[in-house]
Symmetry: C2
């Protein structure tokens, strides 16, 4: 009489153990009234389901059927003509998502929301009828509002820095730390006048993580000649040339590979006298050093997060959203001096983690 079990409690209530199990977990298969009745009885009898055992059983039961465990929806919110860069970014994300989802036994379907695609209400209906519960939201322009979806049915991750409507878990590259690591690496290679050339709107979206890290490290790395960052609203050759001539940064960090030509026009030899590192490898054609965000890995991590929550039956908006980030990598290129091997162990061919 000391330890009430699922089965004994079920007998007492005149229900099957299955119904009890489903009711206690709040499965929609059981009538709401029954759920309430069962829970009250369980509480009265002092029954506590063992969550660890439950999780393990769930896995065991699932592993038999193998293969197909469900469908994940990848939701793309397209407000207006999206740039080719965004397309490349999203495709890279998709690669990582699909690969990981497949390995975990999930299939992926892509939905497009926006003027040319589905309305939110329509998406909600489709997901509901298809029984899709896991969502991965691809980065959208601006700050999208998805609060119209019935969130209590879904578990989701936003593949960007931040979403407030609703506040979901996010997965994104760590631009701040990537910049820190990049500057430290450049410093180790002997560069002392790093210059940041950035379009304001790009960094604003990232809450100034590029420039924040740049400003802080410019101040604290030893022996640095501070070059003021050049912010522009649009790409302007004149502005760049004037800035480059005035401050003569020995390594330019920026998003636009076009400036390499402008630097050369000013007499710079890459990588002999000056260097250039593109802040986003997706913008390059492999002809310069660049920061690689490892986007597929981000997608993979996002996928793991969603699947993890699905398996734990956690739905709805999280009580406290979190941001999961991963460090970018420096891809070597002909526009940057390789690291001088101070110790023998550092292999130049290896990509250096930044």
């Amino acid at each position: 009489m000391s330890a009430p079990t699922l089965r004994s409690l079920a007998r007492e209530l005149g229900l099957s153990r299955t119904t009890l199990s489903d009711a206690l977990r709040g499965s929609p298969r059981v009538k709401a009234e029954t759920v309430a009745r069962v829970r009250a009885a369980a509480k009265a009898a002092g029954y506590e389901r063992n969550p660890l055992t439950g999780a393990v059983m769930s896995q065991l039961r699932r592993s038999r059927g193998q293969q197909f465990r469900g469908v994940l929806a990848v939701v793309e919110i397209i407000a207006e003509g999206h740039s080719p860069l965004a397309v490349r970014y999203n495709d890279a994300l998709m690669d990582g998502i699909s690969a990981r989802a497949n390995a975990l036994g999930f299939k992926v379907e892509r939905f497009v929301v926006g003027p040319q695609g589905l309305s939110l209400g329509r998406l909600d209906t489709i997901l509901h009828t298809r029984g899709i519960q896991g969502l991965i939201l691809l980065p959208a322009v601006g700050f999208p509002d998805l609060s119209a979806l019935s969130w209590s049915r879904y578990t989701a991750v936003y593949a960007d820095y931040f979403i407030d409507h609703p506040p979901l878990h996010c997965v994104c590259c760590d631009h701040y730390r990537s910049m820190i690591a990049l500057l430290q690496e450049l410093h180790a290679r002997g560069y002392r006048r790093p210059g940041l050339f950035i379009e304001i709107s790009l960094d604003e979206r990232l809450q100034y993580r590029w420039e924040g890290a740049f400003l802080a490290l410019q101040k604290y790395l030893p022996g640095i000649t501070q070059v003021p960052a050049l912010q522009v609203q649009g790409l302007s050759r004149e502005a760049f040339t004037a800035w480059f001539r005035q401050y003569d940064p020995d390594v330019v960090l920026g998003h636009f590979p076009e400036v390499m030509d402008w630097m050369k026009a000013c007499g710079a030899k890459l990588p002999k006298t000056h260097a250039f590192v593109c802040l986003n490898s997706l913008r390059t054609a492999g002809d310069c050093a660049a920061v690689d965000f490892q986007v597929p890995q981000l997608g993979s991590r996002a996928c793991e997060l969603v699947v993890g929550q699905l398996l734990h039956n956690e739905f709805g908006v999280p009580s406290q959203p979190s941001l999961t980030t991963m460090l970018g990598r420096l891809i070597e290129g002909p526009t940057l001096r390789p690291r001088v091997a101070a110790k023998k162990k550092k292999a130049a061919a290896q990509p250096v983690a930044v």
Copy 2:
């Protein structure tokens, strides 16, 4: 055919599932020759035993009905006398960890590593014999090296920004975004000369996230009078007073509540003429506005991460470490003007997310 189970493998070998189970665990009940044969076949078929499942089943069978709990190790690395602040931080983490672990069916045990505690080798042995596989590492001074543990046996999370030996997943507060949000909130409340007063060693450990965010936002928030940040190596009343008199910041952000008295001595009235926000609520006694890192929630998240990996049978060092962060919150206090209710919906009593 991709997921061999104990039973399917047994059928194939013409043995019973029981014998298989015993053989794989090396029970003396099974003939040595059979053990070898079974193990070889299991390896060939790609059968993998999930240790957590084993533990659950074992307890289930042994002590029927009794609640089985898995065990997580919380590892504290204490190099020298740890500050009372670190103690408070770790205790808050533990609260969150314990609560979440409990809900997930785990219990927590604390291990202390260091000169006054266990050696790494000893810890490794203890964890092995106790069969503990999930580790949560509490923040350590400096950059600890734990590579001596047999990592292939464990899955772990480090509850701080960064660990490189080995590179593990980390969970930490998002100091950068917390500062951004704090400055935006202060700006919305009408403050225009925020001043940052910070000890270098504190921010250096955070890769200058406080100051990086401060520098960037000082530059981009409209109508700001830039007050240069005051960095100190130790707390000095003279340096602070000189800085405060010279630049007259209308809100001081810093770690040390002591400066409130110094500000008052300079003629400041809190919160009438000036304000103070402590950058770490654990340093305050509730007598001033402060940033709350929501440490228990961080612990909770760390716990979820470890348990998730345990359930998925993922051990060893991750191929690509990630950092999971959560936003701090602004706790209102008598040293800060409340937000002026522009719209009626903003309740002053509610803590504003920063």
